[in-house]
């Protein structure tokens, strides 16, 4: 039963992937502006433009361009960037590493905040402390991550000068890596943590009121004990679904945060490629992002089934 569900989910995954690749390709082809004239600038001659368009394959019909692109990308060949002349696959892979490290660290931070604050807010819901936590998380939700980033930069980089304001260092220099990671990861994670803490709180509140919690307490467990033993686990499934969705929105948030911190991840790569109308590169990046989001969803679905046996049969 479980096996068939997994196969079904994977089939849905593949169909979605193909459909999104077509949509991405069509949408991007409809954008005004082309790579040839953007690259040649304000003084290009007409002949130079025609030659460049031909060289980039922009004079081919749309279906042919899609077919060439799709078959190449399946073989791991994303082509050569129309603008930078570098291998797109290498570029995207480097950017992906950076973005994944950033997003995963931010997710860990967000989860710690969400569970810490969410559980406290639920536990102390009728007291002033719970109220303060709710207000704090509301403030966190209202702040966009780029603003959080700017505030963190001004405090920790410009004023205190204890962390770098911009840039990225590869993990082979652990000190530099950590110091460059901390501010961007926090600016992504704080906001998402605040958002998710609301879900944790309400999931916990719902669970606290459930019959099995009363049963657990009547068996002699303390309130905290019942929460620990039974509450959190039951609240986990809805929270994980939210975390999956938030993971996807973090990937989008990373686009902005990478720009604020001048980090060369997928996000900033995407923005500069869009600006330059480097369509092969944009298409590859967007497809990688689409795959990531779909994979996260797939994992969340499969994991939910593992955590909660009730879901296994239902899907």
């Amino acid at each position: 039963m479980m096996f068939r569900n997994v196969i079904n989910r994977i089939a849905v995954f593949i169909v979605t992937l193909v459909a999104s690749s077509i949509i991405v390709f069509l949408l991007l082809s409809a954008l005004p502006g082309d790579a040839a004239s953007t690259s040649l600038g304000t003084d290009a001659s007409a002949a130079a433009l025609v030659a460049k368009r031909h060289e980039l394959g922009l004079d081919q019909p749309l279906p042919i361009r899609y077919w060439v692109w799709a078959t190449n990308i399946l073989q791991g060949n994303m082509g050569i960037s129309a603008i930078s002349g570098v291998n797109i696959a290498t570029d995207v892979f480097n950017g992906l590493q950076v973005t994944l490290i950033l997003v995963i660290t931010a997710m860990i931070i967000a989860l710690i905040i969400a569970f810490g604050f969410g559980i406290l807010a639920a536990r102390f819901q009728d007291r002033a402390f719970g109220f303060i936590i709710s207000v704090l998380s509301q403030v966190g939700i209202a702040i966009p991550s780029f603003l959080a980033g700017l505030i963190l930069v001004i405090v920790f980089a410009v004023q205190l000068r204890i962390l770098p304001a911009t840039g990225w260092v590869a993990p082979d220099d652990p000190g530099g890596f950590a110091s460059h990671l901390i501010l961007p990861a926090f600016s992504l994670g704080l906001v998402q943590g605040a958002i998710m803490s609301r879900y944790v709180r309400s999931a916990m509140l719902e669970v606290i009121g459930d019959d099995f919690m009363r049963t657990a307490r009547s068996k002699g467990l303390s309130r905290n004990g019942a929460l620990r033993r039974h509450g959190i686990r039951n609240a986990l499934v809805p929270i994980m679904n939210v975390a999956g969705i938030e993971m996807a929105s973090m990937l989008i948030g990373a686009v902005v945060v990478e720009r604020v911190f001048e980090i060369r991840g997928l996000g900033s790569l995407l923005i500069s490629s869009v600006e330059n109308r480097d369509l092969p590169e944009v298409q590859s990046i967007v497809m990688v992002l689409v795959v990531l989001v779909l994979v996260v969803n797939l994992i969340v679905d499969l994991l939910s089934a593992v955590i909660d046996p009730r879901i296994r049969g239902a899907r």
Binding site: G33, D43, I109, R259
Partner: protein
């Protein structure tokens, strides 16, 4: 099973907390050391820049970013433009002679010069490079189209023979068009830069960072810098935060004019010179309301340039009155022609007799253009125009719709190319301007026998263009370079060719 899951969660949490602790611990250490490195960095420098090169190939890709990083540092030309923008000095050519008919330029080359990969530089290299300009797609190779061929007389003597005299030739040879590229490396120019210059590119991460390293086999005076790291920022706030927090040591050509005040203290030096370029309000003389010269002149009187200079770039620039900037050799202040005068503007609008005064103003999505657009719209409203403002994403959409398709009545654009006034001699350029007298002035300048004649013909052309008012030339920005105290040697002015690092000391 229950215990199992609880364990996982608490493990995850403790890993997270541990990571956070390790991170904050490490961070303190590195932060402290990075702020110290500024004072001890006497042989290395980290410079913040704003437009990043999309690749390293200036033959195929337009824009100032590539030459800014590579010219005079990695690539060298036969001759070099002094930082005043007027004097031409020897570089790979020790000396040169121009024949009386202005058709032959004989360059006496330095001997023993090698490219950084060991390949020799000689007269055949000059021939190779100057004879393949017709294969360039970007950076206006037409500026050197007067060159007919090059004779490699000996290893150290190259005769550049022109089809017709062109007094601009020497100037364009100082620019990226005159860059001497290793003939064996022309196919790798997107990602590699092999030149004869004092630096080599040791690494380039597209859009974020270029590392330059001193070329120890350089033929000339070795630069003081051992390494220079060029870091590219997508906006001025990021770069000024980076300088304030010690991530970088200098910002070259800083354009965050509202953020300059925070550097006015003992820790930094602010250098102010002239930048290249002309921010202009282009009016399309070939269609729409601005085909009427009276309306174009009305705009000239209506727009308050002092106000624009103050609002848009905080006063860090020079108001212009014609397509000529202070560092052009033929510069003359022509501001008496159109003095700001709203009454006169209204009068011209009436005299024009045009009823439908609707203007399609297409503005690129750049902060300077958007500020200008708001002020101009208010001022044109006041003299009776109805202004339709449309924002166009820059570069892609603006380049296609406004520049390539010339589908606009008015646009605002910051042109940074050096001496691009000659585009008024090109009727196909998006400025859509054509005047026989101007063309003949440009032709006379090319044929001029002396610099004085050349400059006076150029000024004639400029004066005529100003009369015709195909644009309102707003301002020329200052070159602002902010460094940590103790860093010297950046050129005072940007002559539009390079950020010359050869004299920079940390």
């Amino acid at each position: 099973m229950k215990v199992h899951w609880m364990k996982k969660i608490s493990m995850l949490a403790s890993v997270g907390i541990a990571t956070a602790m390790v991170l904050s611990g490490c961070a303190g250490g590195t932060g402290a050391s990075s702020s110290e490195s500024g004072t001890s960095a006497n042989t290395s420098i980290r410079i913040g820049l704003t437009p990043s090169p999309a690749n390293l190939n200036f033959e195929q890709t337009a824009g100032q970013a590539i030459p800014q990083a590579l010219m005079y540092n990695v690539y060298e030309s036969l001759v070099k433009l002094n930082e005043n923008g007027k004097t031409i000095q020897p570089l790979l050519a020790k000396s040169w002679k121009i024949s009386n008919d202005g058709l032959t330029y004989t360059f006496n080359l330095r001997s023993g010069v090698k490219f950084s990969n060991g390949d020799p530089f000689n007269a055949s290299t000059v021939k190779f490079n100057l004879e393949r300009l017709n294969q360039w797609k970007a950076n206006t190779p037409a500026n050197l189209s007067a060159i007919d061929h090059v004779d490699a007389v000996s290893n150290t003597e190259a005769k550049v023979v022109l089809k017709e005299p062109d007094r601009n030739t020497l100037f364009w040879l100082t620019s990226v068009l005159g860059a001497m590229v290793d003939p064996n490396e022309v196919n790798n120019m997107d990602t590699q830069a092999i030149g004869t210059g004092p630096f080599t590119v040791s690494d380039y991460k597209v859009g974020s960072q270029m590392d330059l390293k001193r070329n120890d086999s350089y033929w000339g005076t070795k630069p003081a810098l051992r390494t220079a790291q060029l870091k590219y920022y997508s906006d001025t706030t990021s770069s000024s935060n980076a300088l304030l927090s010690g991530d970088i040591d200098a910002i070259y050509n800083f354009q965050g004019y509202d953020q300059i005040d925070q550097f006015k203290n003992d820790n930094y030096t602010i250098n102010t010179g002239n930048a290249q370029g002309d921010t202009m309000l282009v009016m399309n003389p070939s269609k729409g309301p601005f085909s009427n010269i009276k309306l174009r002149q009305a705009v000239m009187y209506a727009v308050d340039k002092d106000r624009i200079l103050k609002t848009v770039i905080n006063g860090y620039g020079t108001v212009l009155s014609a397509p000529v900037i202070p560092s052009d050799p033929w510069y003359k202040n022509l501001s008496s022609t159109y003095k700001h005068d709203t009454a006169k503007a209204k009068q011209l609008v009436q005299q024009s007799g045009v009823k439908d005064l609707t203007v399609n103003f297409t503005v690129p999505t750049r902060p300077y253009a958007q500020s200008i657009a708001q002020i101009v719209k208010t001022e044109l409203d006041a003299i009776g125009f109805k202004v339709n403002l449309t924002e166009q994403e820059f570069p892609a959409v603006w380049i296609q719709n406004t520049m390539t398709n010339k589908n606009y009545d008015m646009t605002a654009m910051w042109h940074v190319e050096a001496r691009n006034v000659t585009n008024y001699g090109n009727a196909n350029y998006y400025w859509n301007y054509n005047n026989a007298k101007v063309n003949s002035d440009f032709a006379a300048a090319k044929k001029a026998g002396s610099d004085t004649d050349f400059n006076s013909s150029m000024l004639d052309a400029v004066t005529q263009i100003q009369q015709d008012a195909p644009a309102d030339w707003l301002y020329n920005t200052n070159l602002i370079t902010i460094t940590k105290k103790g860093i010297t040697g950046f050129s005072k002015n940007d002559v539009g060719i390079a950020m010359d690092l050869t004299g920079v000391k940390g």
